[in-house]
Amino acid sequence: MAPLNLAAKRHSVLPGFGLALGLTITYLSLIVLIPLAAAFIKTATLTLDQFWAAVSAPRVVASYQLSFGAALLAAAMNAVFGLAVAWVLVRYDFPGRRIVDALVDLPFALPTAVAGIALAAVYSQNGWLGAPLAALGIKVAYTPLGVFVALAFIGLPFVVRTVQPVLEDLDREFEEAAHSLGASPAQTFLRVVLPAITPALLTGFTLAFARALGEYGSVIFVAGNMPMVSEITPLIIITKLEQYDYAGATAVAVVMLLASFTLLLAINALQAWTRRRQGEKT
C-alpha cells in the first residue's frame, strides 16, 4: 500500500490553515509591513539626487562607519569571548555555574536604558572601571570605545546561546579519537570542534551584529554623540526628525532597513545551514 503522503498535500487533514494564515498575515501587515512601508513611501517623495545627498552626507557616512564598524567589532569580540564562555559553561563545572549561565542572558532581559546608565556610570572617568582605565590613558565613556562597550554588552548572549546547544550536542567521541590519535588539544579544537560549531558561531555573530546595529537606548547614554566622531546612525535619524526633515530621516532609516533585511536573510540562511548540519549528525 502506498504510504499516506499527507505531507505532500498543500492543505492537509489539519484544519485552521485559513484562519491561522489569515490572522498571521493581517496582523503582520497592520503592525509591521504597512508602517514600515510608510518609511519607504515618505522617502519616495525625495528625488534620487536628494535621497543620495541625504544618505551620503559626510556626517551620515561617519555615523554608518561608527554604527556598522562598532557593531561588527563588538560582534566579532563576542564571537571569540562568547565561544569561550559557552565552552566554559558546557565543559567545566564550578560553583556558581548555574548562576553564571542564567546571568549570561542579562543583556537580553535588561532594559536598554538601564544598561545605558549603568555602563555610563561604570565606565565614566570617575566610575569603577573607568577610573583605572583613565589612569592608563584609556577613555571609554563618550568615545567610540564607549559605543563599542555598549554594543558588546548587548550582543553578548547571542553567540553564547547559539553555540551552547551545539557544543552540548557535540559528540565527544570525535575529540577523543583525535586525542588518541595524537592530536594536541589545539589541533583537536581547530580541526574537530571548530568546523562543527562554525555554522552556529556565524549565526550567533550575525545575530549579535544585527542587534547591535540598530541599538539606541544603551548606546545613547555612553556615546559622545559628537557628529563625525561618536554619533550613531539612529541618533542621526532622530536629529533629522527634530529638524523637521522627515524625508531625510526616513531616507537614512531606509538605508538601515535595507541593511537589517540583508542581515536577516543572512541569519536565516545560516540557521538553515546549522539545522542541516545538526540533521546530518543524527
Binding site: L6, A7, R10, S12, L14, P15, G16, F17, L19, L21, L23, T24, L28, I31, P35, L36, A38, A39, F81, W87, R91, Y92, D93, V100, D101, A102, L103, D105, P107, A109, L110, P111, T112, A113, V114, A118, A121, W128, F153, L156, S180, L181, G182, P185, A210, G214, E215, Y216, G217, F221, P234, L235, I237, L241, Y246, A249, A253, F261, L264, N268
Partner: protein, 286 residues
C-alpha cells in the same frame, strides 16, 4: 607520537566526565578569560545599578519608587506589557500553527518577515508610527478630527511595544513546532477532533515550555523598551512615561540615586525573568 592501545584498554579507559573536574592550564586560561569578560561587561554594570541606587540610603530609594510619577510610569509599563504580550502570544501561536503544520509557497519569506522587527532599530520603529499616526502623517488629520489620540498617548506606546516584541513568541514556537512534526495533530484530526480541540489538547501542551519561554522574553522586552517608546511618547510626566523613560527623566534631573532606584526595579524584573527562564530550562530537560 601515536599511542598504541589494546582493545580492552580502550574499552576500559576511564571516560572523561561530562564536565572536567581537573583544571589544566588551558582550561584555567579560558575560564579566566571568559569570566573576566563576563565581569567587565555584565556583572560590574549590574552591580553598579544596585550600588548607585542605594548610595543615598534606603529612604531615598523607597521614596523614589513610591513617588506618584514613578507609580504612573510603573502602571503604564505594566499596561503596555499586558496588552502587547497577549496580542503577540495569540499571533505567535497562529503563525507557528500556519508555518509548522502546513506547507505553502512563500513560507520562508513569511518567516523572514516575521523576524523583521527583531533587526529594525527601535528608533525606526517609533518613527514609522509617527509617520502613520502623527498629525502630519497619513491618519493624523482624521484622528485629530475624531479626537482620537494615538501618538503621544498610551495607544501609541502600546503599538510601539507590540512592534518591538512582535517576533518573540513566534520565534520560539516555530522551530519547536516544526521539530515536533504533525503526526500527533493529524492523528487527532483523523480521530475526529476539531481544530480548536487539536490546538488546545494536543499542540499547546507539547509546546507549553517553549510558549512560556517566549512569553517571558516578550514580557521582559516589552517592559524594558526604550528607544521606540521614546520617539512616540510625549514625555508627559505622570501620563505617557514608561518606567525606562522615567529613569531617563530622573537621570536628567540630577536625581541619580532615584534614577538608579527605578532602574533597579527594572533590573530586578530582568533577574526574575532570568530565574524563570532557568527554571523552565530545567523543566524542559527533565
Amino acid at each position: 607520537m601515536a599511542v598504541e592501545l589494546t582493545a580492552s584498554e580502550l574499552l576500559h579507559a576511564p571516560r572523561p566526565a561530562a564536565r572536567a573536574k581537573a583544571l589544566p592550564w588551558a582550561a584555567i586560561a579560558i575560564g579566566l578569560a571568559a569570566l573576566s569578560y563576563l565581569a567587565l561587561f555584565l556583572f560590574v554594570p549590574l552591580a553598579a545599578v544596585f550600588f548607585e541606587a542605594l548610595k543615598k540610603g534606603f529612604g531615598v530609594y523607597l521614596s523614589a519608587i513610591s513617588e506618584p510619577d514613578a507609580w504612573s510610569a510603573i502602571r503604564l509599563t505594566l499596561i503596555a506589557a499586558a496588552i502587547a504580550v497577549p496580542l503577540n502570544l495569540v499571533f505567535g501561536v497562529a503563525a507557528a500553527w500556519a508555518i509548522a503544520k502546513f506547507d505553502f509557497p512563500g513560507k520562508s519569506v513569511l518567516v523572514t518577515l516575521i523576524d523583521l522587527p527583531f533587526s529594525v532599530s527601535p528608533v525606526i520603529a517609533g518613527l514609522i508610527y509617527v509617520l502613520v499616526f502623527g498629525l502630519q502623517g497619513w491618519f493624523g488629520p482624521w484622528l485629530a478630527e475624531h479626537d482620537l489620540r494615538i501618538i503621544f498617548a498610551v495607544p501609541g506606546i502600546v503599538l510601539a511595544t507590540v512592534f518591538v516584541t512582535f517576533p518573540f513568541v513566534a520565534r520560539e514556537l516555530i522551530p519547536l513546532m516544526q521539530a515536533q512534526g504533525r503526526e500527533e495533530e493529524e492523528a487527532a484530526a483523523l480521530l475526529g477532533a476539531s481544530g480548536w480541540q487539536t490546538l488546545w489538547r494536543v499542540t499547546l501542551p507539547n509546546v507549553k515550555w517553549g510558549l512560556l519561554y517566549g512569553v517571558i522574553l516578550c514580557n521582559a522586552r516589552a517592559m524594558g523598551e526604550f528607544g521606540a517608546v521614546s520617539v512616540v511618547s510625549g514625555h508627559v510626566r505622570g501620563l505617557t512615561n514608561t518606567l525606562p523613560l522615567h529613569v531617563e527623566i530622573l537621570y536628567n534631573e540630577y536625581q541619580f540615586a532615584a534614577a538608579f532606584a527605578c532602574a533597579s526595579l527594572l533590573a530586578c524584573l530582568a533577574l526574575v525573568t532570568l530565574a524563570l527562564k532557568s527554571w523552565i530550562e530545567t523543566r524542559t530537560k527533565a
